[in-house]
């Protein structure tokens, strides 16, 4: 029972935090330099891991898709399968999971350490709102970075699938692309975009919230970081189901 209550309390705390953050996001936009720094931290520094993962996910998709489709003699549909799989599901979800592990943990431990070393309290004493100067730019940076990272993941993944399907397995290049273009719709691109935006909001919110409310001890910061990864991953997969059901 007390676990249940604790869960409800945490949910409420996250939601209240979201409202406070959103209010502070508007004045935070007036400080673009802080925002640029956070986009750099969350986005540009995640590029390598996103691109590498995207390439390999696409290549695996190419291999598995080819093996499955050639049993039905329709390996030309490989491009379709890879593009739809990447755009709709794999790119947003895997990017969000990687983002939680790469950028989310960094956010939580950074803010958590600020809390543990009383930097946030010091800011409050100086009448500087830490929500506005610390939390909001980090949140916004994550929200902006996620759709861009997802788009990059999709493109690289598609290239990886093409690499395997066309170069290695000998699916015709023209057929691969024309089948892909024939079946991919703006609607599918949209689905991926909306998903990545929602995941970006969820993952950034969880990361910033956990850091902001971390227990101000070394152990507390560690626990908060772990919770960020676990909560972000579970919430991402849960939201993914809801959004998929919404879009189909």
């Amino acid at each position: 029972m007390s676990y249940l209550l604790e869960g409800v309390r945490r949910l409420g705390s996250v939601m209240l935090f979201l409202v406070q953050l959103l209010i502070q996001c508007v004045p935070a936009l007036a400080r673009p330099r802080l925002l640029v720094l956070q986009i750099y931290n969350a986005g540009a520094r995640s590029l390598i891991i996103i691109m590498l993962s995207g390439l390999f996910v696409g290549m695996v998709l190419g291999l598995q898709g080819y093996d499955l489709l050639q049993r039905f003699g329709s390996e030309e549909a490989l491009g379709t399968a890879a593009a739809l799989g990447l755009l709709r599901e794999l790119a947003p979800v895997i990017t969000a999971l990687l983002f939680a592990g790469r950028a989310g943990t960094a956010l939580t431990s950074e803010i958590g350490l600020m809390r543990a070393t009383d930097q946030l309290t010091a800011m409050e004493i100086m009448a500087v709102d830490p929500l506005r100067y610390v939390a909001a730019p980090r949140f916004l940076g994550g929200v902006i970075a996620m759709p861009l990272l997802t788009a990059i993941f999709s493109v690289i993944g598609l290239y990886g699938a093409q690499l395997i399907g066309v170069q290695l397995m000998g699916v015709d290049r023209g057929v691969f692309w024309s089948q892909t273009q024939g079946s991919v719709d703006l609607h599918d691109v949209n689905e991926g975009l909306v998903k990545s935006l929602v995941f970006g909001i969820a993952c950034s919110l969880i990361a910033v919230h956990e850091g902001y409310h971390a227990e101000p001890t070394a152990e507390g910061v560690g626990l908060a970081t772990t919770r960020t990864v676990v909560a972000s991953s579970v919430v991402t997969l849960l939201l993914d189901y809801v959004l998929t059901a919404e879009f189909l």
Binding site: Y40, A44, A77, L148, A151, G174, W177, V184
Partner: protein, 175 residues
């Protein structure tokens, strides 16, 4: 100041890359989008078909199962109500007889359509801008089934019932 500059350049590059990827996904991937990409080498020939089925731009053009080129354009000729298919043949295949026969075929049972060329006996070869005269349209599965049923009913069940569908099938088989 120096560190600030690299940070801004890094962020700018990331955002540019992200938007380039978005642009690619929204314009290049859906068939309705713009098409970029330079023209490839080779020569172009055309052929008229009664029905191209779901042949698409980019579908392969083959002879004896080997890819020779690809379909570059499909448009409708309002004069004689036929589909005109433009093809690009790779430059190394210069010696295709100009009375070759083009037919639209299917890869596998449910696969995409492609154009199969069968060589003719002429001594002159296809060149840029020439037209393939002998063509065979895509086989539409539904019309094939229709034809089969028409034959079947007019032969087997002809005297059982004089239904409307039956008489229609008979008149069709007479033609």
């Amino acid at each position: 100041m120096r560190a600030n500059r690299t940070l801004e350049i890094g962020t700018g590059l990331f955002v540019l890359l992200g938007f380039a990827a978005l642009l690619f996904l929204t314009t290049q991937l859906p068939a309705s989008g713009l098409k970029l990409g330079g023209a490839k080498a080779g020569y172009h020939v055309t052929a008229e078909f009664d029905n191209v089925g779901d042949l698409k731009v980019g579908s392969p053009v083959t002879m004896s199962g080997v890819r020779l080129g690809e379909v570059t354009a499909i448009r409708f000729d309002p004069q004689d109500y036929k589909a005109v298919v433009g093809m690009r043949i790779d430059p190394q295949y210069r010696q295709i007889p100009d009375d070759s026969f083009a037919s639209i075929q299917t890869q596998g049972l449910l696969g995409g359509k492609y154009i199969g060329l069968s060589p003719g006996g002429s001594d002159s070869f296809l060149k840029d801008g020439s037209r393939i005269d002998q063509t065979q349209s895509a086989i539409v599965l539904e019309s094939l089934i229709n034809k089969f049923f028409a034959n079947y009913t007019s032969k087997g069940g002809g005297d059982s019932q004089g239904s409307a569908g039956d008489t229609q099938a008979k008149t069709e088989s007479k033609k």
